[in-house]
């Protein structure tokens, strides 16, 4: 699948933002200007991510329509959950900043919805049977691990190193199972054309000699050969370096450095998430046997 920059920014930033919002709502009780800064960061990341997601739309001005099909569509549910989270947590954020003393129970629904937003984002990808690598529990696991580890780091939680370790496990699991998924699902050029029982198949003549939307969007082969190296970079930057930095004395600068390193790793991992994912339509083009 084509790793479109808008979608990378969307999933990485909004994941981090909603993870931070969940922690702010329940575990952190900031006050005054620190509260303004923390909540502002959470909101800023979440909203920046959501805005980025509209950049790959053919008609962004109609984006409001995407709130309507929550009954069947994970993308629609994602939009609703995201907006509901931002609305529900706004009074809590204001109260923290201005010291209004809103009881903490008010933050619980917003925190639950922040988690729901992360789940729905991951299900947009995990639901797709056509992309076997994504169609697996390790997709939601990876999205949750990223959001929670990043959120914990950003809000200075002691549990962050543990969550970073879990993230490393989630990434390893996604790669381990992902590498086997296509074969496991069993789609082949034979089943795609139904000609499998007749004999050995190969592409004789392509359906078109220039590229098309399908090939640009779903048959992305560039850079797969660097996958192994990028996996190491993702693990080192997203998990290892931040965990080491977090053992230094707590200070906004160390937190910032840890989060920045984490983001580099997160973008590498998310790029791989797309670039390594093969869509079954590639079978028609002989891009996979």
């Amino acid at each position: 699948m084509h790793p479109a920059p808008s979608v990378l920014v969307f999933t990485v930033l909004s994941g981090l933002g909603f993870g931070a919002l969940a922690f702010l709502a329940v575990f952190v009780h900031p006050y005054g200007w620190p509260a303004f800064a923390l909540w502002g960061l959470g909101y800023g990341l979440a909203i920046a991510g959501l805005l980025a997601s509209t950049f790959h739309l053919g008609h962004p001005e109609r984006a409001w329509r995407a709130f309507s099909q929550w009954r069947t569509s994970w993308l629609s549910r994602e939009g609703l959950a995201a907006v509901a989270t931002l609305v529900l947590l706004a009074p809590v954020a204001l109260s923290d900043w201005l010291g209004l003393g809103l009881p903490r129970a008010f933050a619980v629904p917003g925190a639950v919805l922040a988690l729901a937003t992360i789940a729905t984002t991951s299900m947009i990808y995990a639901q797709l049977k056509t992309v076997p690598r994504w169609n697996h529990w390790t997709t939601p696991a990876q999205f949750f691990a990223f959001a929670l580890a990043g959120g914990a780091m950003l809000t200075g939680q002691g549990v962050a190193p543990l969550l970073l370790a879990l993230l490393a496990l989630a990434l390893l699991a996604h790669w381990h199972y992902g590498d086997r998924r296509f074969a496991e699902v069993g789609a082949s050029m034979g089943s795609a054309t139904g000609l499998g029982p007749l004999g050995r198949l190969s592409v004789f003549d392509p359906a078109h000699t220039a590229g098309n939307y399908l090939m640009r969007e779903m048959i992305f082969v560039v850079g797969r050969k660097h996958a192994a190296r990028l996996r190491v970079i993702a693990l080192v930057f997203a998990c290892l370096i931040p965990a080491l930095i977090l053992f230094l004395p707590a200070h906004p600068a160390t937190t910032g450095a840890a989060v920045l390193a984490h983001l580099v790793g997160a973008f590498a991992a998310r790029w791989l998430f797309f670039a390594e994912a093969e869509h079954v339509v590639g079978l028609y083009y002989g891009k996979r046997q």
Binding site: M1, H56, L57, G58, H59, P60, R62, A63, R65, A66, F67, S68, Q69, R71, T72, S73, W74, L75, S76, G79, I124, Q127, L128, K129, T130, V131, V185, G186, A187, M189, S191, A192, T193, G194, L195, L198, G199, R200, L201, S202, V203, F204, D205, P206, A207, H208, A210, G211, N212, Y213, L214, E217, M218, H279, V280, V281, Y284, Y285
Partner: protein, 244 residues
């Protein structure tokens, strides 16, 4: 609404004969031509006469070589268009309700006025049947020529999909798969019509009819030639050359 109808009254679709298809691409051209002038946004081309042309098509024809174990290889031409699936994943993933499956005849369509061009439906389709139009920014897909099949302004014989109407070898058949006596249902039953990628759980309506079994040649077709005894001048030449 992106909920799929529990049942559709009709199941309109195509039976595509891989035995008779000669890969002429007439259906590709007819489809592009018809869908350039009526229903929804025209199928655009980008840089059509340049070095890197690209464009939107609702139907494309692939060609495969099949090498059986005991016979000569065959070429199979393979048209690929929307299969109007009963459990269409492209419909349920759509966040706007632009994609829908009609309860009356099972045709899967896109309401282009509501489509935001997110592309998720194209990701959900295993068959590459949806292409986002680069000029219009909306999703295009086969409409089963819904603007022909019910169109009373057309002569009766033209009220079938453009690709079916135009195919010079009659390799594409249109009809109702819900009716066991329809031409397409009988064709599928008699010829062993199959679904594509049943493991994807989409329950396609369209059926593909397999290539018929070809005769196997007993031995090399050139074998008899090897025994020819030349006579006359050719025989003399043959003997002379053999001595050199």
């Amino acid at each position: 609404m992106t909920c799929l109808p529990a049942k559709t009254d009709k199941k309109l679709g195509l039976a595509i004969d891989l035995d008779t298809c000669v890969g002429c691409n007439a259906c590709v051209t007819a489809c592009k031509g018809w869908n350039d002038q009526g229903y929804g946004a025209p199928l655009s081309d980008q840089n059509p006469y340049g070095a890197d042309p690209s464009g939107t098509f609702l139907n494309r024809v692939h060609s495969y070589q099949v090498q059986p174990v005991d016979r000569a290889a065959i070429t199979v031409n393979f048209p690929r268009s929307c299969l109007h699936c009963e459990a269409a994943p492209c419909v349920t993933v759509c966040p706007t309700g632009a994609s829908y499956k009609r309860a009356e005849d099972g045709i899967v369509l896109v309401n282009e006025d509501a489509c935001i061009g997110c592309g998720l439906c194209a990701w959900a389709c295993p068959y590459g049947a949806r292409e986002l139009d680069a000029a219009a920014g909306v999703m295009k897909k086969c409409t089963l020529c819904v603007d022909r099949i019910y169109n009373e302004n057309l002569p009766e014989e033209d009220r079938e999909p453009a690709c079916v109407r135009t195919c010079p070898t009659g390799a594409r058949h249109f009809g109702d798969f819900a009716d066991p006596d329809s031409k397409v249902s009988r064709l599928a039953a008699e010829r062993g019509g199959f679904e594509l990628m049943p493991e994807m759980g989409t329950k396609p309506v369209n059926r593909y009819l397999p290539p018929r079994k070809k005769d196997a040649l007993d031995a090399s077709p050139l074998a008899p030639l090897l025994d020819i005894k030349a006579t006359g001048f050719a025989g003399w030449l043959d003997r002379m050359l053999g001595k050199i």
